[in-house]
Subunit: 247 residues, 2 copies
């Protein structure tokens, strides 16, 4: 009787997961967390007609750098509906300070975007036989989008489990949101400790050029403040003077 | 003081709705029902890379004939995921009799299709300010798809109401499924009484040509049986001999 072979850590079958990857800071961190936790990560980016389409190139580089199994870009034309500064000819609001963000849901909200994205992730997961989906929603340092809140994620997980063949057959789809309760600074610290190169990511809604951020949209302001508060050097190239000089 | 003007019935502001329209029999009936019930109907079709893409032309004709306010086709590439006979190079199962359909969820199931479609309908409705969405799901004479069941619709309505700006602000999105509990024959009788021209619709998953149905896929068999049971002449052109000769 022969002994069982030694199983190297790298030979263990990994649990497959679909990770929504925008090319931004949050989803890059989520990919690194899912990787750390042992998932075989299939990165999924959505080309939805976004103004800041350059983020898709960033997503490809981020997936490669962090070690996604593969990276798929799927097209859905949300520009056909418009209704957002990111998908229609509407100016992106610009501010000088983070405390100017808040109150009403801003015009950068893309109607039902995370509902559409998670639905596509469920479709992809089902074809892979994966039961885990990761998304970088965050309900702390965010722009007040309704589809970033825990109540949304819980309701989505419920519908995912009756929408699909796997769910109908008794398996359970999980929507994993490892950064939902973290501040932007905590996200950056976590990602930095996992070796994420944030210089590959972009957060800007209104870039002045490839990898040149405007520095004044909600997303830039939250990112800048996050690096400051985390005590981590911000690798972002901004088109304008740093935040300290804007006050 | 002037008297209030007479308001003609046709001048009343109508409630706006998004109606998912595939070009098939079921959704054509749903559009006619929504129109009868006084909704201003924005028809929405999804070009998802389906094998039977010809149904999109049918949808345009159906919307015009029934009187949709407008008809929008939105693209989402579900062929990028595959996993179904409708979106990958997999043969559509063919049968001779309706009683051969059933049991396991068939390979014509497109992973999470109605989840994706309804999510897009919610996105569109939100840009229109519409709170009503209509979908022609049916849980009686159907192929056993999980995303046609009442439990799915209820769970989806719940997530739609936390996913959106309107929901976050206290308004209520309604997912209307007027034919979910009808047999195919009842659907056909209802549509016929509302003047639906079923000759404009197509149900076939595997058409032999534009408006020539295979007669042997699940969808053709259910359609044929529905017309027979309804006692309504079936306007469909089939590539094969009628059902009576196939037994």
């Amino acid at each position: 009787m022969s002994a069982l072979p030694n199983v190297n850590e790298h030979d263990k079958p990994k649990v497959e997961a679909v990770v929504l990857l925008s090319g931004g800071l949050d989803s890059a961190t989520v990919l690194a967390i899912a990787k750390r936790d042992g998932y075989a990560c299939h990165a999924l980016s959505i080309d939805y007609g976004q103004r800041h389409r350059f983020e898709l190139d960033c997503a490809a580089r981020v997936s490669k750098a962090i070690g996604g199994v593969d990276h798929k870009v799927v097209r859905v034309d949300l520009r056909a509906f418009g209704g957002s500064a990111l998908t229609a000819d509407i100016d992106v609001p610009m501010h000088d300070r983070v405390d100017e963000i808040g109150g009403a849901i801003p015009i950068t909200y893309v109607p039902a975007r995370n509902l559409v994205f998670l639905s596509l992730a469920v479709a992809y997961a089902e074809t892979l036989g994966a039961m885990d989906i990761f998304i970088g929603v965050n309900a702390v340092d965010y722009s007040g989008y309704p589809d970033c809140r825990p109540a949304f994620v819980q309701a989505f997980e419920a519908v995912a489990n009756v929408a699909t063949k796997a769910g109908a057959e008794g398996q359970r789809v999980r929507i994993n949101t490892p950064i939902i309760a973290l501040s932007k600074a905590e996200i950056i610290r976590t990602g930095s400790s996992l070796g994420v190169d944030y210089g590959l990511t972009t957060s800007c809604y209104n870039p002045a050029g490839d990898m040149i951020a405007c520095g004044h949209c909600d997303s830039c302001l939250l990112r800048r403040q996050g690096f400051e508060q985390a005590g981590v050097v911000d690798p972002t190239r901004y088109a304008v003077t740093p935040i300290g000089d804007c006050r």
